[in-house]
Amino acid sequence: MADITDTAAPVTSDTVARLKRSAEFVVMPAAALLLSAILFSIFLLILGKSPVQFFELLWRGGFGTWFSWQNTFIRASPLMLTALCVAIPARLGMVVIGGEGALTMGGFAAAAIAIPMISWAPTFLLLGVMVIASAIAGGIWMGIVGAVRHYRGVNETISSLLLFYIAVSILNFFVEGALRDPSDPNKPSTMPIGKENMIGNIPGTDVHWGLIFGILLCIVLYFVMNRTTFGFAARITGGNLRAAQAQGLPVGKLILISCAIAGAAAGLAGFFEIAAIHGKANASLVAGYGFTGILVSFLARHNPLVIIPVAIFLGGIAASGGLIQRRMDLPDATVLVLQGLIFVILLVSETLYGRFAIFRLKEATS
């Protein structure tokens, strides 16, 4: 009799404990979002604007109609990829914030390699080469961050952001110089890859295939990070570097590979921006997706699966920016203020984890 209760009790309490802990991971960010919304409402009231109108427009612009949902999805797809660029190194305990740089390099590489091929290459070959070029360029870009971190101990947050500025300079250098398309008098750009070579939309929508690719990559990387030896080793490295070294794990290799995967993801975001949206590389490529991706990853607690809905959520906020700007006469930076506020409050909410009795298991104390 004693045996039965002894074996049965831990199973149920274990399930309850896991449920309660997962509940905490949902409730806390939700509470942080709510608090941000309240503070932002106060901010709007001080400025003499209506918070009700703001959130109504936010809803309508991001999620109200099928049209706005499509806008949201178009913005969500690069956000998923740039969030992965933060989430994967985060599992190794690294704070990489230069995803925008990898996106820029990926997009630039895709557009640049296409130039000599446009005249003769069939679409599938052209796009195939562009995909590979963007993934490699992004991978190398973040790989540099991993390498200087591992071999020289250079802080990855600083180096990744410096590389972002260098990437923008490289883009401008070529777009305004050697690779400038002389037939375009308006904005310095590379030669367009051509309408017939652009990636099409998902049938029945105006959303390009980057969304499906982003979702798939999030799922794949979730399994890689949670269900493979590689992911396990990466998480040990992130948990305790010395322990990982003592176990004989190839820490340097793990750091380099993770950073390269992360950079390749952001580089592919650049590819989709070129091949599905802009059709050519120019300054519009640097649109801030890499920086919003940092917030997406932190909100998702660096979990690739959770990144999918969070990217759609923040994509919606971004999509509603134009509508809010027009209707309420607020600057386009309004969305940036809201995002920054959410970010700060979310980080502060970390301090409250484990403080509330509801999420704790009473039996755990015995």
Partner: protein, 306 residues
């Protein structure tokens, strides 16, 4: 390149180095103070941009650029205090908070700054040191902003204070060992809060230089990572305020390279020379930092060197 244009480039680089280095100098001194107390504030980039905007706005409304400088500093104190207060909460990561405040500060500056992109605000006057020369280029190069001179004396004063004063000792002890500081009866959180706030003041003043002196107007592309490069600069300067001054001049010269070459008609590769300060920063970090040994002068409680 003949001798004449070489002299022009060198003179332009000298003048440029002084102009471009001033924001680096202030932000790096602020970061130096913050890091000496054991915290890192990556949010100074946001403080710099917000300081630039608010300094410009205040100068426009009051007509006095010096009120703008002071206001930018006060706003910097606010940002620093938020950072210092939030980071003392358990489980809150100072690097992540810094990134969040950087994004928030930049966003808020763009939000409030929309109205000030067009108007012309009163700019900080420069002091002429070139009266002895007949050459107008020399005279122009020696128009030095008073903030640069203040920054130089500030660096010397900080260097002296770290070594010789009770306050300097308290900040250094807090940065080197929390346990030792607590044992001495020092309120560690309060010291870090004050150090981060004062550091924010310096960064705000550095920002006001950008909008009120050089380049001398407010726009959204005003700062391009100077606040962040200053963090790297402090590592390179080994947490020594005097070395911060020298490093800021070096960074300023690198930043002045592109415009100086443009002044003699070499405009090819302009964007490449624009990238020079970033490439140099990265190169310096790679050379200066090593995973095998701890850095001389590094505060032991600092999260990036631990």
């Amino acid at each position: 390149m003949d001798d004449g244009s070489l002299a022009t480039v060198l003179l332009a680089m000298f003048a440029g180095a002084i102009r471009v280095s001033t924001p680096f100098l202030f932000v790096s001194l602020g970061e130096c103070l913050t890091e000496k107390s054991g915290r890192i504030n990556l949010g100074l980039e946001g403080t710099l941009v917000f300081g630039a905007m608010s300094g410009y706005a205040l100068s426009f409304h009051t007509g006095s650029p010096w009120i703008g400088v002071l206001g930018a500093g006060v706003v910097g104190v606010l940002f620093g205090a938020i950072h210092g207060y939030l980071c003392k909460l358990p489980k809150v990561n100072d690097i992540a908070i810094g990134i969040a405040l950087m994004l928030f500060g930049t966003g808020a500056a763009f939000f409030f700054g929309k109205a000030y992109i067009q108007p012309q605000a009163a700019r900080l006057p420069s002091i002429s040191f070139g009266g002895w020369s007949d050459d107008s280029a020399v005279q122009q190069a020696l128009e030095i902003n008073p903030l640069f001179i203040i920054g130089f004396f500030l660096a010397v004063a900080m260097w002296w204070a770290f070594k010789n004063t009770r306050w300097g000792l308290i900040v250094r002890t807090t940065g080197d060992s929390t346990a030792a500081a607590v044992a001495l009866g020092i309120n560690v959180d309060r010291v870090r809060l004050i150090a981060t706030s004062v550091g924010g003041f310096f960064a705000g003043v550095g920002g006001s230089f950008l909008s009120l002196s050089y380049p001398g107007s407010w726009s959204e592309g005003l700062s391009s990572g100077q606040g962040l490069m200053a963090v790297a600069l402090v590592i390179f300067a080994r947490w020594n305020p005097l070395a911060c001054f020298e490093a800021a001049i070096l960074f300023g010269a690198a930043g002045a390279l592109g415009p100086a070459l443009q002044s003699v008609g070499i405009s090819q590769g302009y964007h490449f020379f624009n990238a020079a300060p970033y490439i140099m920063t990265l190169g310096i970090l790679i050379v200066a930092v090593s995973p095998k040994r701890s850095l001389k002068g590094a505060p032991a409680e600092l999260s990036i060197t631990k």
